[in-house]
Symmetry: C2
């Protein structure tokens, strides 16, 4: 491609509405333009990257035995009513009426359509297992679209669905998909981690997210420093401490704390170290048979954070988790938040595993402006349950049994689920089993945010000059930058010959044939993140040389003009 | 691909709701399934064909210098308001509101979005000409979706748009696109014709449609038998006869015709040959300065048909053309349709060129139940205009001056337009010209119905057994059908080796490894239209042979097992 016949569309200024670096660089490098909130046009450079990502995803899905098909974006409401999601889904589901006023949705996902397809087309266990996928435009009417294509309203996804007779078979395919996803992210040239994840509103039991690591990532991920273990921090288990709880050495004693409503204030005004105190959080309990909700106290060590996802999974706690209103707390306890604690508390108490091995600790006295010191479990608090209800912190032992946990940030770009029968049950998707009975299929689903990967790759690979693409997804493999070509006798022919020769080797070349100053051309190629730049200048030509610059390492190589094409081909394809 | 790991989904019965052969065969061959009216899932076999068509289109567009990008499906209403089409477009434009109640449309076409893009990104004449394209899912809320993917509500289109400083430049790019389209349809292996077409609601001046010829086509196309001339019958000019009008030989004479209200009845009951009479059609005239519409008479020879498109372009006639209501005709003339004619008619009369060279002809007398014979122009009818207002018929001289016209039927699969400044003017899309002035760009647009081509190809290529794909777009190049493989000792190994060997040659092979009777397998492969079937049977293997069957010609070749792969590769790729 010659820049003179291309739309480079690079910008010098950083657009003011772009908050994160990938959004800024995608605008500045001429990859995308905004059409409306959350709706983007992909310019030629952006589309080239998107297509390369898409092709790698497609090749690995095919290799893994998944079969590609294509479902419509517009889905009839009745399928969503069958699954129950027409009601459950919020306004992210963009609902529309056609000219005959029939209700449809623009698909954010295709569980309903694929389950309907399979229940009609697959009738026998002999046709199972079956994994189907598509690469498609999806729609999600985000309340606040932002970060460019990272959270857009229209985006490209690869979604796959598998169907099975048994959970064992599902687990096998799930593992195949897990491996395929690792291969995909490996081939994309990204630093990524598969992490144990929550299944959320999609449903199912086992689930992994695939994260591209980047400091700007929205999610926190816990890793073992000694194994492959990685989990979304929401989901990472905080093991019970192996050390036993020390024996009580102090008496229970009240002391006035008029200036302390938080752990930090307790430390500041009364010298209580955070790890010597506990936080007492009051939430609503699971409804009883009369749909009444009582209160439940959740207790974590003062320097720890409650993990809401873990807490709401406890049978005593209502889900989704809801913090109790102050008036309900005061009515039940007689004290306000800031002075609460487990001693004498007349409600179910759930104590975090780590808080449970504390002795002689500090907590609110359930009187405003008063705390107890020297609290000891069992002696001072008799009825309580112990559970894992906190977020892990760096240095915790890894739940896998090896090493300790570290925390990094990631961008979720893939998510795989063992769905089970959530959709097949609701939509009566069964097959004849070997024994001739109708049996509901069990399902898996596997998504990759194709357009999101483009932004995530930039978050992970950029510097002050622009994008540093991993070679496999760069819009071009190499840029030819001839210096002052239009004033030279020999440079045009040499540049054209190199261009033709490199193209013939199957290399994606961008030939910058504009009448621009070299500095402008270098800046554009660095901004666009082309992995190699081949600089053709008079001085080097005098010695029959051209210069090859590596965008990522900054390394410069002098190549003989005669062997340059072969050397570059070896580098780019090697 | 092995059928055991694929979804073949062939059907024995022809679905009752499929009216045309391509729709029937796409369902029966397992290419598509209906999700809702006009909304289809593409099964693996269908998607394979769709992708092959898409790739050929893409390659030829790239070769022609067009640059690929991707615009959103969801388009903001304000752009459509700027162009004026938010009001003009009917309910085919699927309008939606997002969660904030802002209006959007699901794009049936992208003139507005691309014009907005180019006016923002292109500022100088130096960046022109520029041709941009996308391959994308489009939405059109058809009042009566039918014929499967031939007229669906969601479909795949390639749409391209070009931008220019001058009409000469536009004409040049238009010609490049015309050539690219010819290359595309040539490579697709289809019998097609570029035909001169009307520009319709898209606007512009010059326009060509590309038709795949098929007897079931909705459009009639007029061809010269001696040149490349081809035009949509709507648009084909009926030349004025070169023979002069004969002199009058008969007197004007009224005769009673109580039993004749049509040309056919005139012939049946009164022996008037159709080409000796004329039809008189009363339509509404163009509104006058007070928005009042009078009546206008249109006269064509009895055996000819009015061409409404030609008629409505006449300045005297209202557009769109509307036939006058009977009460308005009776009020103005005093007679009902069936007895109307030009003699004594008190309204503007437009006479078709061929009707104008008639002498001594028959027409209604403007009295119910009465006709005149021996009518002669000028003598009996003084005020009239002459124009081309009829459809051409086979045997008419070609407007190109060479040969006579024939009529064939076609399916429109492409349409190119010299748009001019319709959109750029309305949306103020200008660039700085060489002289430093702001100049509105002139535009072309170029569409191909990618998913429609799949159906059109089947309409053109089928027989009683199923589809006969042109090789370049067949879902598979070749099917391996081993006979009774599961009872044989040697066939499985031989079939597997051939499968691996052919795949290694880059051939798309479908290996039918089901435990089915040979007849079932042959029928499925013929239905699916795979161009070659390689049959592996015990008897031929005794002589070290395998049989290759050509789906299109029925021809059977015996191949030596040892050289089969090389011979097949030469055939398929040659």
């Amino acid at each position: 491609m010659r820049t003179s016949q291309y739309i480079l569309a690079t910008l010098k200024e950083t657009p003011s509405d772009a908050e994160i670096v990938s959004h800024q660089l995608m605008l500045r490098a001429g990859m995308i333009r905004r059409v409306a909130s959350g709706l983007y046009t992909w310019l030629p450079s952006g589309l080239r990257v998107l297509k390369k990502v898409e092709n790698i995803v497609r090749e690995e899905m095919d290799k893994a035995g998944a079969i590609e098909m294509l479902m419509p974006i517009i889905q009839p409401a009745d399928l969503w009513e069958e699954s129950g999601r027409w009601e459950q889904f919020g306004p992210e589901l963009l609902r529309i009426n056609d000219r005959h006023n029939r209700p449809f949705a623009l698909g954010p996902t295709h569980e309903e359509v694929i389950t309907d397809f399979v229940r009609k087309e697959v009738s026998s266990y002999k046709q199972l297992p079956l994994t189907l996928y598509q690469v498609q435009t999806k729609v999600r009417d985000e309340v606040r679209p932002r970060f460019g294509v990272m959270r857009a309203r229209e985006f490209t996804m690869k979604d796959a669905y598998s169907f099975h007779l048994s959970d064992e078979c599902l687990e096998k395919t799930y593992q195949v998909m897990h491996t395929a996803y690792c291969n995909i992210f490996e081939r994309l040239g990204l630093d990524y981690r598969p992490v144990i994840a929550d299944t959320g509103s999609i449903g199912g039991s086992v689930s992994h997210e695939f994260h591209v690591l980047a400091e700007s990532g929205e999610d926190a991920i816990a890793f073992s420093d000694a194994s492959d273990y990685a989990a979304n921090i929401e989901k990472a288990e905080a093991l019970a401490p192996t050390d036993a709880r020390p024996a009580a050495t102090k008496e229970l004693k009240a002391f006035p704390t008029p200036d302390a409503k938080t752990i930090a204030e307790l430390k500041e005004h009364y010298g209580v170290k955070p790890h010597r105190g506990v936080k007492t959080l009051i939430v609503y309990g699971a409804p009883d048979e009369n749909e009444q909700r009582g209160l439940v106290a959740l207790i974590v060590r003062g320097d720890h954070e409650l993990n809401e996802l873990k807490a709401e999974k406890h049978p005593l706690v209502d889900s989704p988790l809801e913090m109790a209103k102050e008036e309900d707390i005061v009515a039940a306890i007689g004290a306000k938040p800031g002075s609460l604690g487990p001693v004498g508390l007349n409600m179910p108490i759930i104590v975090d595993r780590t808080a449970n091995v504390m002795a002689d600790f500090v907590a609110g006295a359930n009187k405003d402006g008063e705390h107890f010191s020297g609290i000891n479990w069992d002696r001072d608090v008799e009825n309580y349950e112990v559970a894992d209800i906190r977020n892990i912190v760096e240095g915790d032992p890894s739940p896998c049994g090896q090493g300790t946990l570290q925390i990094k940030r990631g961008i979720e770009v893939g998510h795989i689920f063992q769905l089970g029968t959530k959709y097949s049950e609701a939509m009566k998707a069964g097959v004849l089993s070997e024994s001739g009975k109708n049996q509901i299929m069990t399902m898996g689903c596997y998504g990759i945010g194709v357009s999101r990967i483009v932004a995530a790759a930039i978050e992970q690979n950029n510097d002050e000059y622009g994008i540093k693409w991993p070679q496999p997804i760069a819009p071009f493999d190499l840029a030819i930058v001839p210096m002052n070509m239009h004033k030279s006798h020999r440079i045009p022919d040499i540049a054209n010959n190199l261009y033709d020769g490199l193209k013939a080797q199957g290399i994606d070349v961008l030939f910058d044939d504009r009448k621009e100053r070299p500095g402008v051309m270098f800046n554009d190629m660095e901004l666009l993140g082309v992995p190699y730049t081949l600089v053709i200048g008079e001085r080097n030509l005098d010695e029959n040389k051209v210069e090859l610059k590596n965008r990522r390492t900054g390394e410069k190589l002098m190549l003989d003009l005669d062997t340059a094409i072969a050397e570059i081909a070896a580098l780019v394809k090697g």
